[in-house]
Symmetry: C2
Subunit: 163 residues, 2 copies
């Protein structure tokens, strides 16, 4: 029987280190991106809901196994960015990422959210990431050539959420 996963929305100071560990270990993110991931935790800890950043943590055996960070996009009515979804590499391939995405979408829809957006890079490294988003029901809605750097496009995925 797989170990039980506990989802929680409350953010704890210890999540700073957990987020840094998971995002670093995933191997998908640059040092600057890791810093941004931790900054969003700090913003949430400092400002609470006013930060605009919502979190969903998946705890397993007393440690953070994965998390998602999302928030309503300023000056929109019901459009949300899914900023981060990351799972401890040792605990991947158990459906945890998919569960986090599903649960985030449910929470967005409960708040009358209409749209969820996810951005990623066009680089080959992120091919599994892009396939994951497609499996989750997202569609590619935009592509920005050379956005992150020369030869590194931004690809934006979108999903319309039903209420």
């Amino acid at each position: 029987m797989p170990p039980e996963v506990c989802l929680r929305e409350a953010v704890h100071p210890s999540d700073r280190d957990a987020v840094r560990r998971i995002v670093t270990d995933s191997g998908f993110f640059t040092a600057a991106e890791v810093d941004v991931a931790v900054e969003l935790v700090d913003e949430r800890l400092a400002k609470g809901e006013a930060s605009g950043y919502e979190f969903l943590f998946a705890d397993q055996d007393g440690a953070v196994a994965g998390y998602a960070c999302y928030g309503e996009i300023a000056c929109t009515v019901g459009s949300y960015d899914l900023y981060w979804v990351a799972v401890d590499p040792a605990l991947q391939r158990q459906g945890l990422g998919r569960r986090l995405v599903d649960e985030v979408e449910r929470r967005i829809a409960e708040r009358q959210g209409r749209k969820a957006y996810i951005e990623t890079s066009s680089r080959a490294l992120y091919e599994p990431t892009r396939q994951f988003y497609l499996r989750c029901g997202y569609r590619e809605v935009a592509r920005f050539p050379d956005f992150y750097a020369p030869e590194d496009d931004k690809v934006v995925y979108e999903k319309s959420l039903s209420r």
Copy 2:
């Protein structure tokens, strides 16, 4: 002879009120968007360059006639967002908006910036805005259906900057 325009990059506390006045009077922005415009001034005043927000003010006859706010996009190499360009309605049609955009692009290129992006709404109200960006040499690179609200798409313009 038209009154002399003085460009400055330094942000003063009095610019909070100037930005609120110009952005409100332009008639193009919602109350929430006006608040965001002022928040960016506050961020810059509080954190300086670390805010990530750069400003360019156009002063005329001792008052702010228009301004632009821009910044490098986190986790990119040389991609910049042009967050705001606004000109006092009483002082429009004198080429001030175009001058602000040109001067911002020059500053971005000097910092090895490669790309400038501007986002706006698809609503009819913003047709002159979109025409202005096209005249400035921007091209539509993406469109997000129903992004701001139902029937209100986000349109993204892009310009590649030469050094």
